[in-house]
Amino acid sequence: MSEAMAIVCENLSRHFGPVRAVDGISFQVPAATIFGFLGPNGAGKTTTIRLLLGLLEPTGGRATVLGWDIVAQAERIREQAGLLPQNMGLYQRLSGYESLELFGRIYRLPRQERQARIRQLLMRLGLWERRDEPISRWSGGMQRKLALARALLHRPRLLILDEPTAGLDAVSAVALRQELAAMARNEGVTVFLSTHNLHEAQELCQEVAVIKAGKIIAQGSPAQLRELGRRRELLLRGRGFTEELLQALAGRQEVVAIRREGDAVALELQEGADTAALIAFAVARGAAIEEAQRPQASLEEVFIELLQGETNAH
């Protein structure tokens, strides 16, 4: 199991006095995938990351990361994992090069390999030209890229990113996402991406889990989660939607409400409504239907619904 799964959490909990920051969460992260860990601020994302790296001891439950126990073998985990913390945690007085030099020494990379790897990463992220300047003079985007380079320096098997694109402009955020996707694809790295940027998660992640108040409230692929939020709505576009037809449709048991949207008609349906029967009903009464659509919710809409407790997820 540990070969196929980079992270396995079983009923993992961490309480701070009466506060249940992480409350019995269970999830698995397949190796060499990008896993999105979604949740609002204060949901327990950062605490979970600290637990996974062995920086905090769990109050209950257990977890393995890369096959190692988070309590007994935390140092082994940290050897093989790279972290990009939310606030980056860069030594502002050091230059970009020195910062990577420090972490290369910490991971005991041999001198030549260390120098080559630092050069490779700084070049790849477009930071090489300013490598000797103190980090304090760099822009936020450059600092975030450097923090990513630092996390990647020792070629970790697991990369843990806590809000990696927070504070980045749109162009830098897109570039960083492309970098992450390429890395996961080409280098077989497992990426644990903690974010509240739903667009990012939808674009990058194969699997996501949603955490709210310390509990996992949904888990699956982004497509599966969007299914959870599939609107109970049928949009019919075409001609022949007369008032009589609309009244007839409104009178059907499975139709909750009906409204016009330009040349289309939107029907709000009961749970489990037979849409094919409704379409046939409309056609039989003279409607010429050009397009029938069940609009799908975006991950963002599902996320909001989940947080508001309107959708029951598995």
């Binding site: 790296l53 920086l55 140092e75 940290r78 050897e79 994992a81 972290l83 913390p85 606030n87 980056m88 945690g89 860069l90 030594y91 502002q92 007085r93 050091l94 020195e98 420090l102 972490f103 020494r105 910490i106 991971y107 005991r108 103190p134 630092r150």
Partner: protein, 233 residues
């Protein structure tokens, strides 16, 4: 473990010397302090500087001040800036981070004592060459080295303990300042509270370093014990 410690010391020293923005600024600051205590004061004092035990007190106190100016930031400051989490999340064992920080501070303070004492020796020999070769007595030399090291270790380990517990670097610095004030003023005020005859006798003792041997040994043992307690805590 040794590699991890040297990595931590490398990192800490980089940060100390880059406090003024660049390495040159940091070195200049260090050299100015060294110049005052290693050249100017010995030059003003003359050959007595290497004969009297009084400068030994200075070499003992200085690492305390030097170390205490940096130690508050060691954990509390790093925690505030988020760098502590970044370094804790690496493969470095916690004990290597802790010992590395203590060692970096001790070496910083102790290097100042050794370099300052040697510079002072050079200064008085050059400035007062007519007096012949001037050297510290073995007891004085041992006292400078031992007390320099012990006080640096005391400041580093107690300071790290304070920095670990303090919620902010500012609070750690305040606590450290109070501790230093107590260490500095309690002996001075205590001395002033003694009867005049006893004070006179103590002055006489100070003029003969060899008579100080038991007192120095006792003091060294007391500081060493305090060091052990602080490191253990």
């Amino acid at each position: 473990m040794l590699t991890d410690l040297t990595t931590m010391i490398w990192k800490e020293w980089k940060e100390y010397f880059l406090q003024r923005g660049n390495m040159r600024g940091g070195l200049v600051g260090y050299l100015v302090v060294l110049g005052v205590f290693g050249a100017y004061l010995p030059y003003q004092t003359g050959p007595e500087w290497v004969r009297s035990p009084a400068p030994m007190a200075l070499w003992s106190w200085l690492p305390l001040f030097l170390v205490s100016s940096l130690v508050a930031d060691s954990f509390a400051g790093e925690r505030e800036r988020g760098t502590l989490e970044a370094i804790l999340a690496t493969r470095l064992p916690d004990r290597a981070i802790l010992l590395g920080k203590i060692l970096a501070l001790v070496l910083y303070g102790f290097a100042f004592v050794v370099l300052g004492a040697l510079l002072a020796l050079l200064t008085v020999n050059v400035a007062y060459s007519s007096e012949g070769l001037l050297l510290y007595s073995p007891l004085l030399a041992l006292g400078i080295v031992a007390f320099g090291l012990l006080f640096a270790l005391l400041a580093a380990s107690a300071g790290v303990l304070i920095s670990l517990q303090a919620p902010t670097a500012r609070q750690a610095a305040q606590t450290m300042s109070i501790a230093i004030m107590i260490l500095l003023f309690v002996p001075i005020l205590g001395f002033q509270a003694l009867p005049a005859t006893l004070q006179q006798q103590l002055y006489l003792v100070l003029e003969e370093p060899e008579r100080l041997r038991p007192a120095l040994l006792g003091l060294a043992l007391a500081i060493a014990l305090a060091d052990i307690l602080a490191v253990a805590a």
